[in-house]
Symmetry: C2
């Protein structure tokens, strides 16, 4: 398939087989207190316990192993300094190939160190989007490495979709599924996989009110690119991708927006009741359920906790 | 059985059946990075994800449900302000009976609130051991409630032992098991259960060097009660109980002592590599393995993470 096509369920099943030797089967946890609070039956899929501390390893691992030998010999490349960069570094190491990660000056040092620990080569650049893209393009010319986009890449979307296959095997009779929405790599992959297994599943997304381009785009019937992200949820600041949006629309993903204040309160609840300390971006899912309880009451809801790379020295409260 | 006898494997199996409707089956997690660091194959049993955030719910729940109806009608009582107090409050709520928890002035407010949220009645007293015992005795006279000791109680030990049955079902071919040692309720219950299933299992305990009464007692062949605890590990300051020590000796539990500095470093490693933020007391187990790698190299080791009730505002680094 072309690098930016939407994956099919067959692509997602192939991804699941490809990453099985390397990815964790993450646990699903329950909390009586959170069930009582929401009136729903919540099944938390703990991807914060995935390798690298985020679901991103699924997509990156599938992308690394889907390369043919010639491509693999030239390595992989990304200019994400967040969880995708770290995931791609870890994924490349599982295949024993080179990974190049372009990181802007000023990135959190702990993240840079984790990427280097995983064995990737870090390339520093000025902290602008233009500088990142220019350096990535230059590295591609020099090395021939394959650029793996964090959410618009087919193999990445297919990898993220494996999460839904795994969750529906662990909890077969869900009524609904909820993921955060940033660039839409996770939400689109999960939507395609989930509806292939059970077309009756209700699909929800959670988006920060300060980066609600997916909600706006779905409401207006066209991709809105004018949103300037203003949210604590650093993992959800990306604009939703064109193809990702297409999948969200086709699968009727209902996006609920939440304020940062609601999200931080949900992050505290997840810590208090579930003992899961997750990234603020990950807490949007519980905030969204608490915002609109009637839509979830009495239903069995799969809720994806996407990442656990929290800086304990900079908690958002 | 009498309230302070050691439980048998049959008692522990009965406890497992009793608590099954209420306790979480906690996940077992792996980390390639921690395996590489230790040279062992570590299987982390995440009791920090147990109800109430600690393994203590197992013992408390078994104690609450082992009461006959007359006893149950009078309720349960403890003077532990830590995880056992919270666990007993939650356990009593599952049976719909009263719980009285004696708490000294100056206890952490978040813990008091959690116990009250669980529906227990909190009784404040002066912050001395004598005041706690006096108030507990007075409450027993007034209410007839059954005192449930945090580690010397048979039903509590039997409940904690269920953890080993569950772990050995999840990972049947372990070579060794490691738990922290405080009062010894967990270590003794686990030793009895584990050796009933597999007498060849090597059993280890981890104890803070600043509260090493169990290690000293085992070395000297008699219970040492002169140790004045001086450790950050607030969950492991209790002196090992008489019966608990008896079980540790009978089952050849090998206790390794670790400094607080080693334990805090292990706590940071568990967060970084496993994304589990556990109580400092819980991190002693990894610190002990890192201290004596040759004893664990190449072995499959079950490692119990006992609790996750961390005060995010007061991390020990």
């Amino acid at each position: 398939m072309s690098r930016d096509a939407l994956p099919t369920i067959d692509d997602i099943r192939a991804a699941a087989a490809r990453i099985a030797p390397f990815a964790q089967v993450t646990p699903v946890l329950r909390s009586d207190a959170l069930d009582a609070l929401t009136g729903a039956q919540l099944h938390f899929k703990c991807e914060n316990l995935q390798r690298g501390g985020a679901f991103k390893f699924r997509g990156a691992c599938n992308a690394a192993w889907a390369l043919d030998d010639d491509q693999a010999a030239r390595g992989v490349l990304t200019h994400s300094s967040g969880n995708h960069g770290n995931a791609l570094a870890l994924a490349a190491a599982t295949r024993g190939i080179a990974a190049h990660v372009v990181i802007p000056e000023g990135a959190v040092q702990a993240k840079v160190e984790a990427i280097e620990r995983a064995g990737a080569t870090v390339h520093r650049c000025a902290p602008t989007q233009a500088a990142r893209e220019a350096m990535a393009a230059e590295l591609q010319r020099q090395t021939g490495a394959v650029l793996v986009h964090p959410y618009a890449d087919s193999q990445v979307m297919a990898g993220q979709g494996t999460l839904a296959l795994e969750l529906l095997r662990q909890v077969p009779d869900l009524d609904a599924l909820m993921t955060p929405v940033g660039g839409g790599g996770l939400a689109s992959g999960v939507a395609i996989a989930a509806h292939a297994l059970d077309p009756a599943l209700a699909l929800f997304g959670a988006e920060p009110a300060g980066a609600d381009d997916a909600a706006q785009s779905l409401a207006h019937g066209a991709r809105i690119t004018s949103v300037v992200p203003d949210t604590l949820c650093d993992g959800l600041r990306a604009l939703v991708g064109e193809r990702n949006l297409e999948a969200l629309r086709a699968h009727h993903v209902d996006v609920i927006t939440v304020t940062d204040q609601e999200t931080v309160a949900a992050m505290q609840l997840l810590w208090r009741e579930l003992k899961m300390l997750v990234e603020v971006s990950s807490a949007t899912v519980l905030a969204a359920i608490l915002k609109q309880p009637p839509r979830f009451a009495g239903r069995r809801v799969g809720v994806v906790l996407t990442g656990g790379n929290v800086d304990l020295g900079a908690l958002p409260w």
